[in-house]
Amino acid sequence: MRQGTLEAALLDVVGKEDLVTGEGLASYSVDGRQPQAAVRPASVAQVSEVMALAHRLGLAVIPWGGGTMMGVGNVPTRYHLALDLRRLDRLVEHEPADLTLTVQAGMTVARLQEALAPHGQMVPLDPPWPRQATIGGTLATAAAGPARCSLGLPRDVTIGIKVVMADGRVTKAGGKVVKNVAGYDLCKLYVGSMGTLAIIVEASFKLLPLPRTRETRAFAFPAPMPAWQAATEAWRRHLALGSLYLQWQGGPYTLVVRLTGIQEAVDRSLSALAAIAQGLGGEATDVEERWEEAMISPADARGLTMKLSVSPSRVPACLEGLAKLSPSLTMAMPLAGVCYARWPEAGEPASLARKAMALAEALEGVAVIHACEAALKEEMDVFGPLPPSFHIMKAVKERWDPRGNLSPGRFLGRW
């Protein structure tokens, strides 16, 4: 639509300082496409007004948090408006003794953790790049790092959610209590929906006590199998696992384990872990932790990052298969069956992506392109083959966003 008309309409909703046009839009580009405008609403009511406007005018909207995960997804088919939620950064409600809280979507995960630390609490979220990653973005992408083994996934810890629907209506699901089965659990639907169903503006979480002790150890293994066995054994024996992953950048496979909890449990776990690792041929080592970079490199959109999901027991085979494709960096969460591999300078990214997809398929899993240059996305659906329940997902999308204004083209099947 005409730039002047759009700007005038947006200025009815937000102040001039919260409307971005022109050069400022470069930082809101998605797969090389720039929107016509970006807005930075400061309240849920403003988000609602923006969405009502988008609904009326047929504007394609892509919600933004810290932007760390914006490389995930297909190329947008339309993109008029970037909806930057970072000014929605208020802690709405926190009664420490309840071990729950409600927070707006735009607060970064790191800032929330800092606000909770004086109370000896933490929010059980562990996305990569938490200083940039927002609560809303973490939920929308269901981002979970190596602490998933102790924290669970974003879906498991979100007890309530408030969203602005595609037409501007504000709705909520769940509540503020830790146990609740009133109505459909739409929180689950929004978590991981990648900005395609509604705009997440607020969420409530269960909290955890902040561990009193943390110790990190790394063990180098000559092959992925014993490293996987050590990880599984540590879990089976209830060691005080805070986080756990495997890192590979050529050479040995490094199992990185953070033990957390009370001192006695951490001490006991340290010795048990060392014994398990040694028994399987692992050697204590130092490590430069690079799991975030392996998952997603927001600062460097070049190259290719693949995410492979397989049965946990197939992780060693998956890592061996990946090694043959010579990524520069691989990280795996062995208990979950999730592996990330990164090729920063992929010469033939399409061929590599297809090989990684074939590898996953041979292991009865799936591979998706987690990040790559836009050119490759034009060639293939980054999410790979459609799942058998795709028709239901599509029906969900059609109900929630009948005009197709929310992140159009970005999700599975590019619809």
Partner: protein
């Protein structure tokens, strides 16, 4: 029943597995609530394909379908209001796989909850959700209701332990949702289906996450003179950042009912007890147990017992899990409530529960998944007494209202079902409910699966009091 429909159903599952004689149907007209509704037919399919074919037939004849597990539900979820075909999952009771390497179980919906843990135990694994009915209730029912249980305080409810589902849709198609490994791309449809009370489809297989059995379990019994002290101790434990595996509370009336019947080891002269369990690595469990003990003593516990033998522990839990059945000793009928409040509000709301009951002249026996803020007051009464039922229902509604006013919810684990449909607007706006209806539409379910559940209906038939289903005659087959 339409003889044509009957013939079609018989063709699908075989004549022995279609029940249509009134005497046979009686068994399937109720669940663990008292309200009854007679199905038009009961079908017991033997495979997922048969479930799909039954759904196709029902669709063609425009007859609604209600899935049923063991019938232990507490919100009328399996009661076929308005008739229809009840699909019973009891023949779909195979554990298809225990995969210890990947810590998963693949089961059919009619498998009993406890049987999953029993089958996993030789591998050092278990299925964490442990509703009190776990010896009787089915995985299919657990999934429909997102069942909880004492130990979900630490480990989460059913929804946190289901990885993938095979489901029959309203079109009668079998479809897999989710993924048994890693992360499946796309919307989390498994998360949407778990807890949808049988309204979106019929689950025919489930991939469940298993967890390792803990090396150490320490059980504590903290004895308090008053309910106030006990509920303040619960709030304080949580406020200290201690999240035990289980944190249950029983009041005097419950113990009075349980003790003569189970001899569980509860002190019948106490005002309330906390039954607490901590588990994990020996050192962690020990430290947590000491911390719990410290908080309880600080808040005036008369005694805190630890060091139970496995047999004693078993009896304490048997007493807890049979609490509901034992209430029959106290009164001819009781009304089971299920509300949740933020945990700091527990002392306040627990006090309110007694006050509200007193104002109605009713006695209450209260058992709580206290650590979760999940209350189960049981209002004791005699149904034969004129006007009693209405009084009990008003009292129950007041209690749930108090939970909502404290920032809580109308149900923590029993489901909305038929019972609490009309309470939904207390916590959800018309827009919120509309979004939920959208999901039902997306599954193409309309009012085909389990109609009249969850959503408030405009036309309330005067003969049916909405919460009536949760009132039952006391019996040993009910669990809370």
């Amino acid at each position: 029943m339409n003889p044509k429909l009957r013939r079609e159903l018989e063709r699908v599952v075989g004549p022995p597995w279609v029940l249509a004689h009134p005497a046979e149907l009686l068994t399937y007209e109720y669940d663990a609530t008292i309200e009854r509704a007679l199905p038009d037919a009961v079908v017991l399919p033997g495979s997922a394909q048969e479930v799909a074919a039954v759904v196709q037939v029902a669709r063609r004849f425009r007859v609604p379908v209600v899935a049923r597990g063991a019938g232990t539900g507490l919100s009328g979820g399996a009661v076929p209001y308005g008739g229809g075909i009840v699909v019973v999952t009891s023949r779909l009771n195979r554990i298809l796989k225990i995969d210890p390497e990947n810590a998963i179980a693949v089961v059919e919906p009619g498998v009993l909850n406890l049987d999953v843990s029993r089958a996993a135990a030789p591998y050092g694994l278990r299925f964490a959700p442990d509703p009190s009915s776990q010896k009787a209730c089915t995985i299919g029912g657990n999934i429909a209701e997102n069942a909880g249980g004492p130990h979900c305080l630490r480990y989460g409810t059913t929804t946190n332990h289901v990885l993938a589902l095979e489901m029959v849709t309203a079109e009668g198609q079998l479809v897999w949702l989710g993924s048994p490994w890693g992360e499946a791309p796309g919307y989390d449809l498994v998360g949407a289906v778990v807890g949808s009370e049988g309204t979106l489809g019929i689950v025919t297989k489930a991939v469940l996450r298993l967890l390792p059995l803990p090396p150490a379990i320490i059980t504590l019994l903290a004895i308090f003179d008053t309910v106030e002290q006990a509920s303040e101790a619960v709030s304080a434990i949580i406020a200290h950042g201690i999240v035990p595996a289980a944190l249950e509370m029983l009041d005097r009336a419950v113990m009075e009912a349980v003790e003569p019947y189970i001899h569980a080891g509860y002190p019948p002269d106490a005002g309330a007890v906390l039954l607490v369990e901590v588990e994990g690595l020996e050192e962690a469990a020990e430290a947590e147990a000491q911390a719990v003990r410290g908080v309880c003593q600080e808040l005036g516990a008369r005694e805190v017992h630890m060091g139970f033998t496995p047999e004693e522990r078993e009896r304490l839990w048997a007493g807890r899990k049979a609490a509901l059945g034992a209430l029959g000793r106290l009164a001819p009928s009781y009304y089971i409530l299920d509300g949740v409040v933020p945990r700091t509000k527990l002392p306040h709301v627990v006090r309110q529960v007694y006050e509200i009951c007193q104002s109605y002249g009713l006695r209450v026996a209260h058992v709580l998944h206290a650590g979760d803020g999940n209350l189960h007051p049981n209002i004791l009464f005699d149904e034969q007494e004129p006007g009693a039922v209405e009084r009990v229902l008003r009292c129950g509604a007041d209690i749930i209202r108090a939970c909502v006013e404290a920032g809580g919810s109308i149900t923590g684990e029993h489901g909305v079902g038929y019972e609490k449909r009309d309470f939904m607007p207390w916590i959800f706006t018309p827009h919120d409910l509309e979004a939920m209806r959208q999901l039902k539409d997306a599954f193409g379910a309309g009012d085909f699966f389990n109609p009249h559940k969850i959503f408030p209906e405009e036309q309330q038939e005067t003969s049916m009091v909405p919460q009536r289903p949760a009132i039952r005659h006391a019996g040993p087959d009910a669990y809370v």
